[in-house]
């Protein structure tokens, strides 16, 4: 860990005195901050709030589906509830969360910069996000939307009652928050790297963030203008997508998925970003095939723009389009598989430490592999016609979005929690929680694959036509309850750690990277002096690691023999 010129003793003293959390305490110092770390925390609180609301909607959906004839909700209310769930989760949580929280916090730290290139723009992006989120919520409170998160025309533009206009304007504004975050990251990564931080010394987190930013910048404006046209059509009764006036509703689908397919990668690439860090640091090895993993992020970003048609196999697009889209969709599997295989190759013969973030990362690998492979069923135009709009699709994208992004999010939250707050949490509870999430998740969504394959359509709340589906739905609801527990527990034990957790120190995991070389929590200017990077990325020293491990084991055995402990198991 000798890549900087900062004397570590001096650093430790600094940390006691002043860090970004205790430098000022007024509310204004938070709401008007330009500090990327404080803005990241603002985002952490606000996205968690929206996630909580979206989860309540999910709970209602699952409760409603426990009986074939519905339980509590009217059909129209059910439509509004699943739309709210989708809109809140996609636009106010998944697209935003990892880049705006961890990206904001870590991009400058990892490249050795004092801040993002445009701090004021960064703060403005949070306000745009909050304005958008508030409008979306207001729309849901004053009438709701029943269009689903996809806003398909002409239903959304000509027929749907409710607050479609308000919610769309909310999404439009929140979209600009994503764009500005993307601009900030691209400029920062290009121009603000510390001396010696070459492109191929960048942690893979940064590469994936860069690819994510590119997609945010290029895709979000398209959906912004498309949704604006829906509002235009709704408000002034203009023809753009309405078929009775010569407009083409399928054009809306093309434009919508031109964004929303890359948006899927905007949601999952940041998860890849986190998992790359976790796997490398808890396997104590340089990531296998660093260049391939780095470029696979860019390849996913590039190919992600060319596959939107696979959402439209059953629309009026031509058979030849479907064939081409299907083939390119298969191509995306290549860079994704490169990542999975390289992570596994990194773990192979690595010095693996099964601490809680690593457990999340391993759970991610298993779940994402299932999510990715079931994507192939849907990417093949033939099988997709059978599976379109069934619970198979629902299960597939939840395997990627929840099992992928959420698990990586939790893994990242645990991994960088000591850096963000300066406190360690109880690793034991965190490991148990990782298992709870894994079990709860699979119990929720695996039955949905089966019930979807059997023909349960999505967005229905009655299935009296097939009461035999009830067992699967009850299993799924049960799993959702366990999963909910797994999301609530971290809120408690992580908050607890703020008060009772031991001080973390600069590098509690023994990880490698610039963010671990400054104090925890970091000072406002991140580093006391600009770091100069002299070693390679993930440059672990296996020999000293091994020696340290041997010493730890010896130490433990000695202690145990002193305490009269005679078990020979190695159970941390």
């Amino acid at each position: 860990m000798s890549s900087t010129v900062i004397p570590s003793g001096e650093l430790g003293q600094q940390a006691e005195e002043s860090n970004y959390l205790n430098v000022k305490h007024t509310i204004a110092s938070w709401l008007l901050t330009g500090d990327h770390k404080r803005i990241a925390l603002l985002y952490l609180v606000s996205t968690s709030f929206f996630f909580f609301l979206g989860s309540i909607a999910a709970g209602l959906i699952r409760y409603e589906l426990t009986s074939p004839a519905g339980v509590v909700l009217e059909s129209e209310t059910y439509n509004k509830v699943f739309s709210s769930h989708g809109i809140l989760m996609v636009f106010t949580f998944l697209v935003v969360a990892i880049p705006a929280i961890f990206g904001n916090f870590l991009v400058p730290l990892m490249i050795g910069a004092r801040d993002l290139a445009f701090p004021r723009l960064n703060l403005a992006s949070w306000y745009m996000y909050m304005t958008g989120g508030t409008l979306i919520l207001a729309g849901m409170i004053f009438g709701g939307v029943d269009t689903g998160w996809t806003f398909y025309t002409p239903y959304s533009s000509m027929y749907s009652n409710g607050q479609v206009t308000m919610v769309i304007i909310g999404i439009f504004i929140a979209g600009f928050s994503t764009i500005t975050t993307g601009i900030n990251f691209v400029v920062t990564i290009h121009k603000m790297r510390a001396p010696g931080m070459t492109w191929f010394r960048l942690p893979l987190f940064i590469w994936a963030m860069y690819a994510t930013s590119l997609m945010m910048i290029l895709a979000t404006p398209v959906v912004a203008i498309t949704l604006l046209l829906v509002v235009y059509e709704r408000t002034f009764k203009l023809p753009v997508f309405s078929p009775e006036l010569g407009g083409d509703p399928v054009l809306f689908q093309h434009l919508f998925w031109f964004y929303s397919h890359p948006a899927v990668y905007i949601m999952i690439l940041p998860a890849f970003a986190i998992v790359s860090e976790l796997i490398a640091n808890f396997s104590r090895k340089r990531i296998f095939g660093y260049h391939f993993v780095a470029f696979s992020s860019l390849a996913i970003a590039g190919l992600g723009f060319l596959v939107w048609g696979h959402h439209m196999f059953v629309s009026s697009q031509s058979m030849y389009e479907s064939i081409v889209f299907s083939l390119i969709s298969y191509l995306v599997a290549v860079p994704s598989a490169i990542k999975i295989f390289n992570w596994m190759a990194t773990m192979y013969k690595g010095n693996i430490r099964l601490q809680s973030p690593m457990i999340y990362a391993i759970a991610f690998l298993m779940i994402f592999t299932v999510g990715g492979l079931t994507g192939l069923f849907l990417g093949a135009a033939g099988t997709d016609i059978h599976l379109t709009a069934t619970y198979f699709v629902v299960a597939h994208f939840h395997y990627v979005m929840v099992g992928g992004t959420m698990l990586a999010f939790l893994g990242g939250l645990h991994y960088w929690w000591p850096k963000i707050t300066g406190r360690m949490f109880s690793d034991g509870i965190a490991k148990v929680n990782a298992v709870i999430v894994f079990v709860g998740f699979n119990l929720t969504f695996f039955p949905q694959f089966i019930v979807g394959w059997l023909g349960m359509p999505r967005r229905y709340h009655y299935y009296y036509f097939a009461p035999e589906f009830q067992a699967y739905h009850i299993m799924s609801t049960l799993g959702a309850t366990v999963l909910g527990l797994g999301f609530i527990l971290p809120a408690f034990y992580l908050t607890m750690s703020l008060f009772t957790g031991p001080k973390a120190g600069p590098n509690p995991w023994g990880a490698h990277g610039l963010e671990w070389e400054t104090s925890s929590p970091p000072p406002t200017s991140n580093f006391t002096e600009t770091p100069i990077v002299m070693d390679e990325v993930y440059d672990f020293d296996p020999v000293s690691d091994h020696a340290k491990d041997l010493k730890d084991i010896e130490e433990r055995n000695r202690r145990r023999s002193e305490e009269g402990y005679c078990g020979s198991e190695d159970d941390n």
Partner: protein, 239 residues
Amino acid sequence: MSAITNTSDHGHDSALHHQFEDIGQQNDSYIVGMWVFLSTEVMFFGALFFIYTLYRWNYQLDFYIAHEHLDVKLGAINTSVLLFSSFTMVMAVQSAQLKRRLHVIGYLLTTIVCACTFLVIKYFEYSSKIADHLYPGAGFATDAHAAFGAHAFEAGKLAVNMNHAQLFYALYFGMTGLHAVHIIAGILVILALIRLWVIRAKSVTLDYIPTEMVGLYWHFVDLVWIFLFPLFYLMPKPH
């Protein structure tokens, strides 16, 4: 945090923000940021151009007849006005490089005058469309003869599908409207820039990059019009 407005303590260069090492890095970041922003704008307008292309391809004759109501002369004048404003913007950036403060202010004011002229002409164009009921919506072109003239009729029968003509005008108002919004935003940004030059703010006088960034934005807005003008005003007759 006051860090947001803080300028760095190290050195004489008070235009330097705390997060940057030196003015070169700051300028590079500004320029890269501006170009990246413009690329989002390209995608923003790009979606609209895509929609336009598709519908024009599908409804060639209807678009042709509908477009004949647009005034090519006014459009051409507006094009020249905007091109001239781009020239004055170039001169403003050039003057900023040479640190000729009064020249900069003069050229920027001329640019604003051009922008306002553009908007005034646009206003008259829009008024004449609205007077002829050519705004899309329920009451669109109730009197087709008045709206499109005799050549919209072939042997006494209406040759233009009014729905498609309405689509043309929806796109016309949507796209030129969004462009006009960008012009208005540009005017506000240029006004802010002029104010900084007037009060001799170091952030603009020490270095020409802020002026250059506004210039980049302005050229982009002009460039959009360079595409809008032929697409809407200069349509060849389809066979």
